[in-house]
């Protein structure tokens, strides 16, 4: 068995993860290439932001890691353990406890007929985190307090419809936190919330990360919030990772032409109200049996012949900054980029 690289405190190590969905009926061999050759690592106490537009494969990546769906190929090492090989028929209860997910829609993820207290006590019971009723109750209140729902006694007895969107999302975090996870997969946790309360949730995530040394995969279409919370950022385009590394490096010195396009399109009054023209040709390509090469080739202003032949390997452009683009002739690297 291949030995995983045991970095200091690596929680998740994803290698060459690929997911292709069959489409077009029983006898069709067409496939949607949703996620292609995605590799990255997350360490304890680290937030990795996965940024991309709709159809980039970022949510599918999270669902693969949570094992809601199974990959076509690739490996997932969780705390050094090859989970796809060790648990081939689905995630173990322990894995499902240690890897928690928070979704975009705080309205859909809570059952309207149950109290908040009920929602939070469920995982505590299922994963046997409380030996008796009294401790269960105490733990529920403590969790509500942790996520800033005060007074906890009051919130425990409320129903989801009595809460605002931001409060509901806090409940979702309390519920995920209940079972002492090691890794949180947060899929657009603030994009349905009002702008004035988004920062509160992102700051809560940050605090939980520090207090519980959690590892996060933060999935978003908003590159500014990816920077805000992510120690590292990975940019995805049409199923492929195109650039990644230290968030500040990527914001200040983007390498891949797609990252540059994305950054130039973000409304940014701080840039001094100068309208920066976006020069773009075309739209995101179809993911059904795409041609070989870089998926951005059709839109790229710097496209070369080689771009249409094969997706370039990872090339390092800075100490903790890599891209997959032929414009950079740094040493191509076979290994997964370090997280």
């Amino acid at each position: 068995m291949e030995k995983p690289v045991e970095g200091n405190g690596t929680v998740l190590d994803v290698r060459h993860l690929t997911k292709r969905f069959p489409v077009g009926g029983l006898f069709s061999s067409k496939k949607v290439h949703a996620v292609e050759d995605v590799s990255f690592r997350i360490s304890r106490g680290q937030v990795v932001s996965l940024v991309g537009e709709s159809g980039s494969g970022k949510s599918t990546t999270a669902r693969l890691i949570s094992r809601l769906i199974e990959p076509t190929s690739g490996e997932i090492f969780f705390k050094g353990r090859d989970v796809l090989r060790a648990e081939p028929r689905g995630a173990s209860r322990q894995y499902r406890r240690e890897v928690q997910m928070v979704f975009q829609d705080p309205f859909g993820s809570l059952n309207p007929v149950h109290t908040i207290g009920h929602h939070i006590s469920r995982p505590l019971k299922i994963h046997r985190r409380a030996p008796n009723r009294r401790e269960l109750q105490e733990r529920v209140l403590e969790l509500l307090n942790t996520v800033g729902l005060n007074p906890p006694e009051e919130f425990a007895n409320k129903y989801p419809h009595q809460l605002s969107g931001g409060q509901r999302q806090r409940v979702a975090f309390a519920r995920a936190l209940a079972v002492d996870p090691e890794l949180m997969l947060a899929d657009e946790p603030v994009s349905m919330l009002d702008v004035s309360i988004r920062m509160g949730i992102l700051n809560l995530m940050e605090r939980l990360k520090e207090e519980h040394s959690l590892a996060y995969l933060y999935i978003t279409h908003d590159i500014a919030s990816a920077r805000y919370i992510g120690d590292e950022t990975i940019v995805m385009y049409a199923g492929h990772m195109v650039e990644g590394g230290d968030s500040e490096e990527i914001m200040h010195h983007p390498a891949h032409p797609y990252t540059k396009l994305l950054l130039s399109a973000v409304p940014n009054p701080h840039a001094g109200l100068v309208s920066r023209k976006v020069e773009d040709r075309g739209e995101v390509p179809s993911l059904i049996d795409p041609p070989p090469g870089c998926p951005f080739a059709a839109r790229c202003p710097h496209v070369m012949d080689v771009c249409r032949q094969a997706m370039p390997e990872v090339r390092w452009v800075g100490e903790n900054h890599w891209t997959r683009c032929y414009l950079y002739d740094g040493e191509p690297q076979q290994d997964a980029p370090a997280g």
Partner: protein
């Protein structure tokens, strides 16, 4: 503006006044439930029960919109004012080609031949960046961005002097959003129409508008030229909003957003409606409703602090405003 609901009447928009000049882009910013979309619906009188206009006035080039007959309204909409809504790209008729839909809109208002209308439709599509060859495409054959462009083309069909755009790009990816906004800006320069631009995305508004009105809980709390509002926001709510958008440039700073949640409009807070979330609240502010007052030329704010000669000073930082931790 009032909605009748099972939980009692909701005053969705309360005492809102503003004007839009020729060729101007006025931005209306607010969170969900702030009443910004209700304002738009009231302007073109497409509100139906349980919504009703309880008072106020809408004037378009001197004409009283609220007094118009149904026939006059028909002409007023599309010809004088057209609208683009957030979900507009889903409001296209799925069994008609986009060309036919534009032709329909033109011929409903103008006596032109089918052929002339079709030529104009092709021209409109070209203007918004869709190849004329796509004129016989059905909506499902187009991407979301192209559908939204087609809707904008339809809104332009009769060359109206005012366009109301309610979150026209919110459902789209940011690159597509930027392209469409650029296109709208170019079109505005060329055709000279005015825009009422409604969105929750303040950073987009600051880039795009001439003036911005900030709405909170059905009321305008601040109104100022865009640049002035960005450089010198006065209302604690506006200052809080500025502290709610992380940036991709500058040094990274901690942002706090605004504590608490937007109010329940069935029972909005008394006095200043922002008081439960305001770091400057005093007992008096919970009783007395602040009036919109002009503190410098063109810059209006509805906040007790300014009436008392004080001011809100949530610390300005490189990329926003800092407040004390919750």
């Amino acid at each position: 503006m009032q909605y009748a609901t099972l939980r009692g009447p909701v005053r969705a928009v309360d005492g809102v006044s503003f004007d839009i000049g020729e060729g101007e882009v006025v931005g209306l910013a607010g969170e969900s439930g702030s009443g910004k979309s209700t304002v738009a619906l009231a302007l073109i009188r497409v509100l139906h029960p349980p919504a009703m206009i309880k008072g106020g006035e809408v004037r378009f080039r001197g004409r009283d919109v609220l007094a118009m007959s149904d026939r006059e309204l028909e002409q007023f909409r599309w010809r004088d004012v057209s609208m683009v809504f957030q979900s507009a790209m889903n409001s296209l008729n799925p069994v008609m080609t986009i060309g036919d839909q534009i032709v329909d809109a033109i011929r409903a208002h103008e006596r032109v031949s089918e052929r002339q209308a079709r030529e104009r439709a092709a021209e409109l599509l070209r203007i918004v960046g869709i190849e004329a060859s796509r004129i016989d495409s059905y909506p499902h054959q187009l991407s979301g961005g192209m559908r939204q462009r087609a809707v904008i083309a339809t809104a332009l069909a009769l060359n109206p002097p005012l366009m109301i755009m309610d979150e026209p790009t919110t459902a789209l990816d940011v690159v597509v959003q930027k392209e469409i906004m650029q296109q709208i800006e170019d079109l505005k320069e060329r055709l000279g129409f005015s825009i009422l631009f409604i969105t929750h995305d303040l950073s987009l508004l600051v880039e795009f508008s001439t003036r911005i009105a900030i709405m909170y809980a059905g009321e305008i709390v601040e109104l100022a030229p865009a640049r002035e509002l960005f450089d010198n926001p006065l209302h604690p709510y506006t200052q809080g909003l500025m502290s709610s958008f992380p940036s991709i440039t500058g040094e990274k700073r901690k942002l706090t957003g605004i504590p608490g949640s937007p109010p329940d409009m069935v029972a909005p807070p008394s006095g200043c409606r922002f008081h439960p979330r305001c770091p400057y609240r005093r007992e008096k502010y919970e009783q007395v409703v602040p009036r919109l007052m002009e503190v410098s030329p063109g810059h209006f704010v509805a906040c007790h602090l300014y009436a008392e000669g004080r001011r809100a000073t949530l610390e300005r930082t490189e990329i926003g405003y800092e407040q004390e931790e919750e």
